[in-house]
Symmetry: C2
């Protein structure tokens, strides 16, 4: 449930509450989409989403996203959109803080269900 | 058309290209939503959106949003979601840079069509 409508939300305060890497938490909901924050460190898993495009904005640190034939490097204030069906592997050498916009239906590991798959909860 | 999928986009570089207040520009598209950046200064206009919830994230400066019975004050790194049908009046005492996430159908002035209404273009 979105109980945050018309309230101020401080990203830094929300990120302080996250104690696990690769475990995005919901901080807002609008138009069938979720706003999430996450801490990334290390390497995630190759995956794609069949029906969802994803937006990643770096709040702090450096996020790399490996694609099939190249690699994106995103620093603070940079974003990218990974369209549906694009294979991608996010990784971060140091702890990196990220804002994510994606449809409510999105599973973090996409089609690759494994031990990294998490149910996304409100923070 | 979204020609930015899987590319790095730097918010600060995009914002440098904006030379008019209250004129959001599109910098990304996903899941039927637009990512926009805007510079705000001064007072906008009271309005609401009948079918669209809006997300505002402050990149730089301070954004105030008057609501019917109170006022939000958002500083760098703060966001809010203004749900559909909520009357709101954005204003900024100094130049303020904002990231907006909203459905493609959104008109900047909502139901209040006037000289501030703009067709939103890609940056």
């Amino acid at each position: 449930m979105n109980n945050l409508a018309s309230e101020r939300v401080c990203l830094a305060e929300k990120l302080k509450l996250i104690d696990r890497y690769w475990n995005p938490k919901i901080v807002g909901e609008l138009n069938g989409q979720f706003i999430k924050v996450a801490k990334f460190k290390g390497e995630f898993v190759w995956h794609h989403h069949e029906n969802e495009d994803e937006f990643f904005l770096v709040i702090k640190g450096e996020l790399k996203i490996k694609l099939e034939n190249r690699e994106l490097v995103l620093r603070e204030g940079d974003f990218t959109i990974i369209n549906r069906n694009i294979q991608h592997l996010p990784f971060a050498e140091e702890e990196t803080h990220v804002l994510i916009f994606e449809p409510k239906s999105t599973v973090n590991t996409g089609q690759a269900r494994n031990e990294l798959t998490v149910d996304c909860e409100w923070l």
